[in-house]
């Protein structure tokens, strides 16, 4: 089983820059030449190596669950596997304890943001876009880089599109949170292109193996998020994909039939499509940590009462 992508960075890349939220705010680039270089990304040439170093740096510092051996990347970690099917891959992440329901929602949102950026539906990572378009969010870009000079505001057409996309995404995030508060969510689908029944690309987040706990006994959400992105990065799932045009993105969520959410549209006949490229992110809780946590496995008997809901917006990607 070939676990590593072609361009695995060496451990000796300088790790001076500390960027704690690197996986969220600045998703690592998938490979040179795959995406247009942006002014924001100061390090021009082998930026990927540097950013990797960032990531590994923060990972080793903040998430002790990841062993240094993993960070070095010379031996296969047990935390994930990637099956090498033609258009079908999977990444598994096992948390060493239970997580909160809000945490699960956060995973879904972060993965959605990540997929949108990596698959060229957003010109910049979500957080940065939000930063540009909402001046209300007064986050100063680090390193004094040139992002602010970018002509976002002058190009009103693309600006409007950007605002629209952000508004839609915000809505999706907000309603996802509401849904997660109402019901257990065993699975989430992010569907790119085509329609819900036959997307071009399919990203599945499987939470069936998650043990949900309360805030005190659960793992810290940020460290779990980092762990997810770390595994995603190591399995190098986005680099071999081709550049795609802007498409619509559909979000499907599985929830309990009677959870009472009204924003999402129930799709009783829905079945996870077989067509298209598929990436499954399996999140589960292992270890001995969660004795008191309610495992989702417990409700398997009532699994057929979990139906698919579709977010009533199709997030249309945009380019600058």
């Amino acid at each position: 089983m070939a676990l590593w992508g072609s361009g695995l960075p060496g451990p000796e890349a300088e790790g001076a820059r500390s960027s704690h939220d690197a996986p969220r705010r600045r998703p690592f680039k998938s490979g040179p030449g795959l995406r247009r270089q942006r002014p924001r990304q100061k390090m021009a040439g082998p930026g990927r190596q540097e950013r990797t170093a960032d990531l590994l740096q923060s990972e080793t510092v903040e998430a002790p669950a990841v062993t240094p051996a993993l960070a070095v990347g010379r031996s296969g970690p047990a935390a994930f596997s990637s099956s090498q099917g033609s258009g079908c891959r999977s990444v598994s992440v096992v948390f060493p304890g239970s997580v909160t329901q809000q945490g699960c929602c956060r995973f879904a949102c972060e993965l959605l943001k990540h997929v949108l950026y990596q698959r060229h539906q957003l010109p910049l990572p979500y957080e940065q876009l939000a930063c540009f378009y909402r001046r209300a969010l007064p986050r100063q870009p680090q390193d004094g880089d040139a992002v602010k000079k970018k002509p976002h505001t002058t190009d009103s057409g693309s600006s409007r599109k950007g605002q629209q996309v952000l508004k839609e995404l915000e809505g999706v995030f907000w309603h996802l949170e509401a849904l997660f508060n109402l019901t257990l969510v065993p699975r989430i689908l992010i569907l790119l292109g085509g329609n819900a029944m036959s997307p071009k690309e399919l990203y599945e987040i499987n939470l069936e193996g998650i043990s949900v706990g309360n805030a005190e006994e659960s793992l810290q959400t940020p460290s779990c998020v980092r762990k997810i992105f770390h595994s995603l990065f190591l399995s190098d799932v986005f680099s071999e994909l081709q550049v795609v045009p802007v498409m619509g993105t559909i979000v499907m969520v599985q929830g309990h039939r009677d959870c009472g959410i009204d924003w999402f549209r129930p799709k009783l006949n829905y079945k996870v499509p077989m067509r298209g490229r598929k990436l499954t992110v399996n999140l589960s809780c292992g270890g001995n940590g969660s004795a008191g946590a309610s495992s989702q496995q417990g409700v398997t008997s009532a699994w057929d009462n979990y139906i698919w809901f579709q977010a009533p917006v199709t997030v249309k990607g945009f380019h600058e």
Binding site: G194, R265, L268, R275
Partner: protein
């Protein structure tokens, strides 16, 4: 052999059996209730009201459960099976209840990636969709076009299910609708797809309608067009591979893809076009062996179509302009809509053609307006469905222009606009 024949005989609908009545239940878009629960409640409802006269739709229910979960319960297409309007005893009939959700997304586009251009080669709907809701009912034909088409697809599926040897009995899953423009060929294809997606929801989770943009399959590169056609059908193949989907391929103006190859001998057509025809024909032969696909095609100019394609079409249905009786029904439905929206006010009860016939076309207070409408319908004969459907709009725009109008005034305006339509036609004919 004999066994198979016996099987078939049993499986084919027996005319002597009790009548098959289709009940379509439109589940509310936010309802998450199980279909079985809805089915039970609908059966209870139908038990309470077990005599109906023709098609009927309930939209309000005394049952709270149905009110919460169901938009409408409709008994549909009784006129396709029963020639006479007669009371139907539902308890004696064979009821098939179809429960469906409508998809509210619009069409998505299906692209073919060429080196550096992206061609939108097809539009693509997931059925049943909001967009085509009510389309079937709005199409009025005299002959049994609709029931023929439905029965055709049913037989197709039956033969596939029973594994009829396609070397012995061959059928191609191709329907060709032809006739003058504006007669609803394309609409009928879409409506048929929607109808079948609902009718067959018990065995296919959903339907897919793929409308091919014929013109986009012609490449600017010589000899590439045939390849584009092949690519397009490869995409379609992917849809067909999903056994849970019923796939409809709609090729509008099919003559552009299947122009008669005999014309090429004259040298007026480039040989690239021949490759397109060949590609289409071979691809159709390829996909016809899959049970879950139907190819719907329309054409205005049948004589231009290649004979090899015409042969492949199982049903070649001519769709002509509506007869006077059909015109009457079209106007009738238009006026009903305008009364519902209170543009025609107050509401007037119009009599159907059959009711007029029963009273022997005698003029009285009840029948006066309906008789006026009948006269308008009779003089409108020869206009196409597309024109007819816009006449009420034109009547309002040209002769009325106020938010609410009586039926009598509206009918006058309608009559004037019909005359005007024929005048315009004459003028156009004079010019040419």
């Amino acid at each position: 052999m004999d066994e198979a024949a016996g099987d078939l005989k049993q499986a084919l609908p027996n005319v002597c059996d009790s009548v098959q009545i289709h009940v379509e239940v439109h589940q509310k878009s936010n309802s998450t209730t199980k279909k079985e629960d809805i089915r039970l409640s609908v059966l209870k409802l139908l038990n309470r009201h077990n005599i109906v006269f023709g098609d009927y739709t309930w939209t309000e229910f005394d049952d709270g459960f149905l009110n919460n979960n169901v938009q409408s319960v409709s008994i549909v297409d009784t006129e396709l099976k029963l020639k006479e309007r007669q009371p139907i005893n539902l308890s004696k009939c064979n009821l098939s209840i179809h429960i469906f959700h409508l998809n509210d997304e619009g069409p998505s586009s299906e692209n073919l990636e060429e080196e550096n251009e992206d061609i939108v080669a097809a539009n693509h709907w997931v059925l049943p969709t909001v967009e085509f809701h009510g389309l079937w009912e709005s199409l009025v034909y005299d002959s049994e076009v609709k029931s023929h088409l439905l029965d055709y697809v049913m037989t197709t599926l039956l033969f596939s299910d029973k594994n009829v040897d396609s070397n012995l009995i061959s059928w191609n899953r191709v329907v060709l609708l032809h006739g003058p423009p504006g007669t609803g060929k394309t609409s009928l294809c879409k409506a048929l797809a929607q109808k079948l997606a609902i009718r067959l929801s018990y065995r296919y989770r959903y339907g897919q309608l793929i409308e091919i943009n014929s013109h986009s399959l012609f490449s600017k590169w010589f000899s590439e067009s045939g390849k584009l056609v092949t690519k397009m059908f490869q995409k379609i193949q992917e849809f067909i591979d999903d056994k849970d989907a019923l796939v409809f391929v709609l090729i509008d103006e099919v003559e552009s893809l299947t122009a008669a190859r005999s014309a090429f001998r004259a040298g007026t057509e480039p040989s690239d076009a021949i490759r397109v025809v060949n590609a289409v024909l071979t691809q159709i032969d390829q996909i016809k062996r899959y049970p879950n696909v139907v190819i719907l095609t329309t054409s205005n100019i049948t004589e231009k179509i290649d004979m090899a394609f015409v042969d492949r079409a199982d049903i070649k249905q001519y769709i002509g302009p509506p007869s006077a009786a059909a015109v009457f029904r079209i106007y009738f439905s238009c006026l009903e809509e305008l009364m519902k929206r209170q543009i025609i006010y107050p509401r007037q009860q119009l009599l159907t053609l059959r009711e007029l016939e029963m009273i022997g076309y005698v003029e009285n207070n009840v029948s006066r307006l309906s008789l006026v409408l009948k006269d308008i319908a009779w003089k409108s004969e020869g206009l196409s469905g597309r024109v007819l459907r816009k006449l009420p709009f034109l009547a309002h725009a040209l002769y009325i222009q106020c938010p609410s109008v009586t039926m009598a005034t509206f009918l006058q305006a309608l009559s004037l606009v019909v005359d005007k339509q024929f005048e315009e036609r004459m003028k156009l004919a004079d010019c040419s």
